[in-house]
Symmetry: C2
Subunit: 150 residues, 2 copies
Amino acid sequence: MFDHADDEPVLVLSEDESWRLLENTQHGRLVTVVAGRADIFPVNHAVQERTLVLRTAPGTKLAEMAVNEEVLFESDGILSDQAWSVVLRGHAQRLETDKEREAVQSLGLRSWVPTLKENYVRITPTHISGRHFRFGLQPERELGEGSETG
Amino acid sequence: MFDHADDEPVLVLSEDESWRLLENTQHGRLVTVVAGRADIFPVNHAVQERTLVLRTAPGTKLAEMAVNEEVLFESDGILSDQAWSVVLRGHAQRLETDKEREAVQSLGLRSWVPTLKENYVRITPTHISGRHFRFGLQPERELGEGSETG
């Protein structure tokens, strides 16, 4: 899947590839911004028809998403020699009706904090981007700073 | 290390515990905010005297940290039954002088994107917090919504 042209260390992923990575992972981080101040929360996620669904206990992140629905979500996978990262920007919306919640219950999402009340949030993306990194090609400092051939 | 009192699912970590987790991990995510808009970047990190050191290629995150030095950093470790997350808030400062850069070269940091020029950033924390989660105690929906005993 990660076919770097000409040994380039960074591969820009397509939207399809980015979604596939999110579909095959279960956790990431949600970033909210209120009054210019960011917060970040680890979350479980699932993908449903190219939207992202989260489940969460009541608390800061639900409150902050109510104030500013523009959020970021990041997920990554990191090995010793390679890594990928996908960043999704979108609008967060709490699922309020039984019908909305029923539509996501089959996803089997769990909250990081146990909660009986099912607080689901759907992030409708405005932008998704992904990159794959190969670490093996890191130039060594010993090659000399400013060398273009390292 | 993670001794949850009374089977509580969430354990608030001390500053010492939070630093120890950051010392024993190599990667996390940097969040910058410019004009109310957040960005997030995967990064390698090292801890030096209770500051966080990053190495990065020139690009968006260096530019954004120059505009707003207030940043967030998050690192986590996630298993099927438990997870931890540490969030550090602080001021980012690019290391400009040879003396400053020499002080961090022994950390062996690598950038995610190969770079011959050594761009190091030090984050001096204003706040660090950590939590450990146990997933085993998730109440089941079948117990009945609103039950306080589940």
